[in-house]
């Protein structure tokens, strides 16, 4: 029985756990990288033809929902730990609280999409301009039917609402938690528990509709009731993977949280990552098998489009995002080994990006096909669109996607780093800190 290291928890100073310049130096660098990346992407997208605009907006959306899902995962981590009065997670919970500091940036980054919708840019949201020629004729009546929900103004209003709610939630937890660093008031912990419970349904609904708005409505015909859960499962999984990586970074021998993040924490983070690998696999499989089995054209079309792209089969996605980390993380030994946890965490984060790519980018291919059909397949323009579609399908990850990834990713890292730079990354006077320091996994 290895009891906790002999760290005295009396009089811990939040200052000591503030990264300061170590993180602050990243902010400026990543800000520049991010802005350059986005500028390149925007330049490519806005100066080219319809196809480039479509590609830019799709790539932007894909990368955007990826990083937003991580922030949402972090927010959920905070909520669920409070509502269950979790003790083990206390030494890692602040990390999640600080990651949610990216929400204001993400709100800002939603503007291009809101503007695109308001301007009726059918290249990304065919419903934003139902007569813009990018809705196949046979389903135009469906898009009109849905106009009560899928219209630009309501879309913009919803986006604003989501971010108001998320920013408020994240800010409240962060500020209260930071206040507890100074006061150590256990009443704050009780308040967390009390408030976090009703926040969970609000969180669930906003996340669901966010996923519907940004991803599902890329194809305004297709629908799946499980879609919100699918997006949630992937996002929380990705955040747990990130948490494992950050925990290793801060908890290593020379890390700022050395001694505070123990093998038991890696084990628990590993277990949650493993559990959500399974949960994501479960949700993804449930959606797939039901659509595969019923074989209804309007549903299977969505998967069919996705099988024409990149690795080309949903089975590959299962293999990479489910089976590999499942086998990798099944043993207790792997979960308690931080280096391996980081390897599989990194793998999961990449695969979650592939998942978002799988959800978002095929819609661009559709757009190209529509453009081809609109121009007439026999015409010069039609042939050009056909060629564009072929070349995109053969290599869908190009400069545009890379620029968007660097752009939004850079800004996201900058925002998170800023958050880390100015606050303690340990909830030093959380009443359950001692428990977190001594608990044992069976």
């Amino acid at each position: 029985m290895s009891h906790s290291p002999s760290i005295s928890l009396e009089g811990l100073n939040p200052e000591k756990f503030t990264l300061g310049a170590r993180a602050g130096s990243l902010v400026g660098r990543f800000l520049v990288v991010g802005i350059v990346g986005l500028a390149v992407a925007a330049a490519l997208g806005l100066t080219g033809d319809q196809g480039d605009l479509s590609r830019f907006l799709h790539a932007y959306t894909t990368v955007y929902v990826y990083f937003t899902s991580i922030a949402l995962g972090a927010l959920f981590f905070v909520l669920i730990n409070h509502v269950t009065s979790a003790g083990w997670s206390v030494t890692t919970r602040r990390i999640a609280e600080l990651v949610t500091g990216a929400f204001p940036l993400l709100a800002l980054l939603s503007l291009p999409l809101i503007i695109a919708a308001l301007m009726g840019t059918a290249e990304i949201y065919p419903w934003a301009n139902p007569d813009g020629g990018l809705v196949p004729e046979g389903v135009a009546h469906l898009v009109h039917k849905k106009a009560g929900f899928l219209n630009a103004k309501f879309f913009a209003a919803r986006m604003v609402l989501y971010f108001v709610i998320w920013i408020a939630m994240a800010a409240w937890f962060k500020s209260r938690s930071l206040a507890q660093d100074l006061s150590g008031d256990p009443a704050i912990t009780n308040l967390f528990k009390k408030r976090s419970a009703p926040m969970i349904p609000v969180f669930a609904l906003t996340l669901t509709f966010f996923a519907l708005d940004l991803l599902m409505s890329l194809d305004p015909v297709w629908y799946s009731t499980i879609f919100g859960v699918y997006y949630f499962a992937g996002g929380f999984l990705c955040f747990m993977a990130l948490l494992g990586i950050l925990a290793k970074k801060f908890g290593a021998e020379d890390g700022i949280l050395s001694g505070f993040i123990r093998d038991e924490h890696y084990h628990d983070i590993g277990k949650l990552t493993f559990a959500f690998v399974m949960f994501w696999g479960y949700i993804a499989f449930s959606q797939y098998i039901l659509i595969w089995y019923a074989n209804i054209p309007e549903e299977t079309a969505w998967y069919h489009e996705r099988e024409g792209l990149f690795w080309g089969h949903v089975g590959v996605l299962f293999l990479l995002k489910f089976l590999v980390p499942f086998v990798g993380l099944i043993s207790r030994h792997m979960k308690r080994h931080p280096q391996r946890l980081v390897i599989f965490g990194g793998w999961v984060m990449v695969m979650h990006f592939y998942d978002m790519f799988f959800l978002g980018m095929p819609s661009h291919l559709n757009t190209l096909h529509y453009l081809e059909a609109q121009a007439g397949p026999a015409t010069e323009a039609g042939k050009a669109w056909h060629h564009a579609a072929e070349s995109f399908a053969s290599m869908p990850f190009g400069i545009m996607e890379l620029a968007c990834l660097i752009g939004i990713g850079g800004l996201f890292v900058a925002a998170v780093a800023k958050s880390f730079a100015s606050h303690s990354i340990l909830a030093v006077r959380d009443p359950r800190l001692p428990e977190s320091m001594t608990f044992h996994n069976p």
Binding site: M1, F285, I289, W292, N295, G315
Partner: protein
Amino acid sequence: MEQQEAKALGLLAEYETPQALMAAAEKVRDGGYKRWDTHTPFPVHGIDDAMGIQPTILPWIVLGAGATGTLTALLLQWYTNGVDYPFLISGKPLFSWVPAFPVTFELTVLFAGITTLLGMLALNRLPRLHNPLFDVKRFARATQDRFFLALDATDPLFEDSSARALLEGSGATAVEDVPDVPTNENIPSWMWQVAIVLVFATFVPLGLIAASYNSTSTTPPFHIVGDMDWQESYRYGEEVPFFDNGQAMRGALPGTVAVGELEEDDAFYRGMDDMGNWLAVAPVEVSKSVLERGRERYNIYCLPCHGESGNGKGIVHERALALDTSGWLIPRDLTMDSIVTQPDGQIYDTITNGFNYDAETGTGNMAPYAAQIRPEDRWAIVLYVRALQRAANASIEDVPADKRSAL
């Protein structure tokens, strides 16, 4: 039994608390003892280290069982639905990982789950219903509120006095001998007798099966699940109590004719022209295939009496003569002139209605074959009979010139 003084099988020490037991366990471990154990009412965490227990291999066994389950399920589904009896249902592939997944998962868990319990029991050598420790009265509290350390006398380091001293000095509230209470180690003979009787009893059903395997019997076949084998609908040829004549098959109502059975074509069905005269020539096309058909039908229905060549010396006739049946009427030689000169229609009529036949008594020279032979086959037979007549009365001129030499 010879020794009056029972030798102790070991020592049992009792402790009040898990902490005391843990401390004692560390001492015994450090003392180098190998054959000893602690007994507690609940799993005491940390005692594994205190006793030096190595991690169990159970997880690996379970992993193996789970993998076996996975493989079993996949092979089973692939082989049964994809290979052995491929059966296409609602356009699904014969084998695909998507619908195969649920059963694969379940069997993996089933195999692994059963192995977990059985593996745990096997590694623990359980069930073990007899245990010398049960003979120590205070040991009953091992499952209640006391903590015990048992030292086995077979341990190489075990020496009563030193071991006792070690335990007594370890904070034990009591140290006691584990008595060697006499017990029967060998399976009693009545168990063997029962087993032998059982083994012999198993031969009875096997014998019964062997006796009826492929063997002749007047007992109707036994249908294990017979409920749908005989349904409440009657079929042709079955007996049914509902109707007067007890037959399931219903005849046509008097005065009605089934569709297609009007048989209004006199020439074809009766062999007569409009005036009631026999047709001289069969109203069917003459071709090799019809003649072949005629030969085949003739051989089935006519040959038994009239013989292969139509000479009236068929095998039934031969047999009738051999039996010396008084009532036997010699079949006609179909190649005789009186028949050669008959019109086709008349021969047809003979096949249909018999010859010299009295329908009332059912007797006559030849019975009617209308029920057995279809009209077009009767005409085919007529043509074939003509061929037989021609062959019987043929001259060398009838043989094609190039074949004559063969005769």
